[in-house]
């Protein structure tokens, strides 16, 4: 089906189903329960999940396949964002032109950066990309302020009147897709549960499913094979007379365009751009997402992106009052004790939890979360297999 088959097809169907059902899956707890704190099914976070998923999928095409570790991918995301917001300010509030220009500009910028950086490999390549990204950040922050808005960044202002959109006097334009506003949602209430169906989220989700589909096709294509060859032994490839450069550059540009797409979508969902999304930590974040999820695997980066964004948005919001509410059923001394234990890890301590999680995943699951899932699955399977083995053994004994 669709040119993919077997395991890939089931992974694709799984991702598509997860993306479409996310508003339900991510809100497993009733609104009024104490566990509602852990619900992630609100538009902003769901959008971030899929947008960063796209970013990580793209990054994985470069890193997972060729092994080139770029430390500057956030720059492409930033360039895409700036391109998209200018399109919205000047041309149309419809998100399509913005996203297209985001991809185009990020693509062009990645051709430039890729052409230069790919002349080196290994850690030198990483430092080169890092240097380009840091330069973009520094310039966007200060010298390019007329173009980027500096620290405050760019937003759609009341005075902005894009060519192709009609905004009533005094109103601020909102991003839309042929009349559907990105911020529109409808809320479905079922018993104690509440599910938010958001237009913007579904736009992102559809784009993400398409992007994921593209990634599968790239992974399984001859081009993808070539990229893998670069990773396993570039020298041998060169000796056989193949020039690997065009392939790696193509992979670099494709992943840059994915980053641009993510940047464009970010603007479409939340019409604001600031330079800090180009800072090296933002580039580091996508590296972490990919490795955490499982580099080189199809679904890993998406999982990693979801994991980190979940930590950032959910764990950071747990404060001592919330903790006290959770443990309120316990006797006083016990309650205070537990709150004291948990408090350093949540709220303002969420970075600590994040750091510990990184370490735990890398130490115990070198292949990332995907490997964790596989191990878990294997454990269950082995258990079953053991059982059947036992059965056959039992059956055998009497026969002997």
């Amino acid at each position: 089906m669709l040119g993919i088959k077997g395991k890939d097809l089931s992974v694709f169907i799984l991702v598509a189903a997860l993306a479409l059902l996310a508003p339900f899956l991510l809100n497993p707890f009733p609104v009024d329960s104490a566990m509602a704190q852990f619900n992630a099914g609100y538009p902003d976070l769901m959008q971030r999940f899929v947008i960063f998923g796209i970013f990580a999928i793209g990054f994985n095409i470069l890193f997972g396949l060729t092994g080139y570790l770029s430390f500057g991918h956030a720059a492409f995301l930033g360039v895409g964002s700036y391109a998209a917001i200018w399109m919205m300010k000047l041309v149309s509030l419809n998100i399509i032109p913005g996203i297209i220009m985001a991809i185009v500009f990020a693509g062009l910028f990645s051709v430039l950066v890729g052409y230069i950086s790919l002349r080196r490999s290994g850690i030198y390549f990483s430092i080169l990309t890092l240097a380009f990204a840091q330069m973009s950040y520094a310039l966007a922050y200060s010298v390019l302020t007329p173009l980027t808005g500096g620290e405050t960044g760019l937003q759609i202002k009341p005075g902005d009147n894009p060519l192709l959109s009609n905004i009533p006097e005094g109103e601020i334009g909102r991003a839309s897709l042929f009349g559907l506003e990105m911020s529109d949602s409808s809320i479905i209430r079922l018993g104690g549960w509440e599910f938010t169906m958001n237009v913007g989220y579904y736009v992102c989700a559809v784009v993400m499913v398409l992007a994921f589909y593209m990634a599968i096709r790239i992974f399984r294509s001859p081009f993808g094979m070539m990229l893998r060859a670069v990773k396993s032994n570039q020298q041998r490839m060169n000796y056989t007379g193949l020039n690997s450069k065009p392939y790696t550059l193509a992979a670099f540009v494709i992943s840059g365009m994915y980053a641009g797409l993510a940047g464009g979508l970010m603007v479409a969902m939340d019409t604001q751009v600031g330079p800090e999304r180009m800072f090296w930590t933002a580039s580091g974040e996508v590296v972490l997402m990919t490795i955490l999820g499982g580099a080189g695997t199809l679904i890993g980066p998406v999982l990693g992106a979801g994991f980190i964004k979940y930590m950032e948005n959910i764990v950071s919001k747990i404060n001592s009052t919330v903790l006290h509410e959770w443990f309120a059923f316990l006797p006083d001394g016990m309650e205070d004790f537990l709150v004291t234990i948990f408090y350093p890890f949540v709220g303002k301590g969420w970075h600590l939890t994040l750091g510990l999680m990184f370490m735990a995943v890398v130490i115990f699951l070198p292949g990332g979360l995907v490997q964790g899932g596989q191990k878990l699955a294997a454990m269950f399977r082995r258990k079953k297999a053991d059982d059947t083995d036992g059965d056959t053994a039992n059956q055998k004994t009497p026969a002997e």
Partner: protein, 343 residues
């Protein structure tokens, strides 16, 4: 001219910090083959050793002064350091005053301990893992370390002044025949520069003139062969890691009076020090030192008002620009050996 000399001094000073951190990074990378993203955090820990030690020295007990009141109207409590009780107010005060230099003694065992624990507890399991995994795990460790420091000391910078004797500036210009007061340079920064030179010299001497150093150098060049010769290279590498941590630590201690320590100061240095290492040449110790000073001086020059006016923004990108140019024209870095980590 006088401005240029001042900026050279500034550059050497900044370069000292870069060089010390890059030196440690290179020691670790060259010997163990590990990309240590927690190295900035070690520098930060060093600076906080100074903070902790000066706090220990000024540990005090409260004496209630009935004649004055605090902001809520209760009797004022005044802190009297134990040092004043033990050594008398004058000697006590001067011991507290000298907290930063004294904390070097305190930081060495602490940092060796930290380095030892880090290598044995974590890093040694990552020798054979890909660089990406090393980066991720050490980055995680760096976050954990700085969050722990933040939990105890807060996010605000903590002023850790140099001893009274080193405050103020030295009239450097007079030495060179300029008019008095044209080139003034803070004493402590000169001390820092001298100290950095001393440490760098000591590390090189250690590697060059001791058997231990010789073995380590041999191990850096060809680990396998050294292992085949029946030398327990692993044990030596652990010690090298501890030494590298120690170098970063004392660099941090001495840096505390220059920039007030805060929990994320390590991250500020991390990226820069990697750039320094790569520009100098991966695995080359002299390269790391030379590149550290070079980039420090270039950064200082690029920040001169006249230059910034000419090329706006150059002060923010100069280091990266230099890195790009060098990597493209001389891929193995300024002093990297041919063939080492070129691909």
């Amino acid at each position: 001219m006088d401005q240029i000399i001042v900026q050279v001094l500034n550059g050497l000073d900044k370069g000292s910090a870069y060089a010390l951190i890059a030196l440690g990074l290179t020691l670790i990378f060259g010997t163990l083959g590990v990309v240590n993203f927690a190295h900035g955090a070690l520098f930060m820990l060093g600076a906080f050793c100074a903070v902790v030690f000066s706090r220990i020295l000024s540990l005090s007990h409260e004496v209630v002064d009935e004649t004055r009141t605090d902001f809520l109207g209760n009797p004022m409590k005044i802190d009297v350091p134990y040092m004043h009780d033990i050594f008398g107010p004058e000697l006590g005060a001067s011991i507290i005053d000298w907290a930063v230099p004294l904390s070097i003694l305190f930081s060495i065992p602490v940092m060796i301990g930290v380095g030892f624990a880090m290598e044995r507890g974590l890093i040694k399991h990552f020798y054979k893992r890909p660089h990406a995994d090393q980066i991720l795990v050490t980055f995680g460790l760096a976050i954990v370390l700085q969050e722990i420091v933040k939990a105890f000391f807060g996010a605000n910078p903590i002023q850790t002044p140099a001893p009274e004797a080193f405050t103020g500036s030295f009239d450097f210009g007079v030495l060179l025949g300029f008019d008095p007061l044209t080139i003034m340079y803070p004493y402590w920064r000169l001390v820092y520069f001298g100290f950095a030179a001393l440490i760098i010299g000591a590390v090189f001497a250690f590697l060059q003139f001791t058997t231990f150093g010789m073995v380590v150098r041999a191990g850096m060049a060809d680990r396998e062969t050294v292992g085949l010769l029946g030398i327990d290279i692993d044990r030596r590498f652990t010690l090298m890691f501890a030494i590298a941590a120690c170098v970063a630590g004392v660099a941090g201690v001495m840096y505390a009076p220059i920039v007030a320590p805060n929990y994320h100061m390590g991250m500020d240095f991390l990226v820069l020090s990697f750039v320094v290492v790569v520009v100098g040449g991966m695995g080359s110790l002299p390269g790391a030192v030379f590149a550290g000073f070079l980039l420090g001086v270039l950064e200082s020059f690029a920040s001169m008002p006249a230059i910034v006016e000419l090329l706006p923004g150059i002060n923010q990108i100069i280091i990266y620009l230099v890195a790009i140019i060098i990597l493209l024209t001389r891929p193995r870095g300024l002093m990297g050996r041919k063939g080492v980590m070129e691909e």
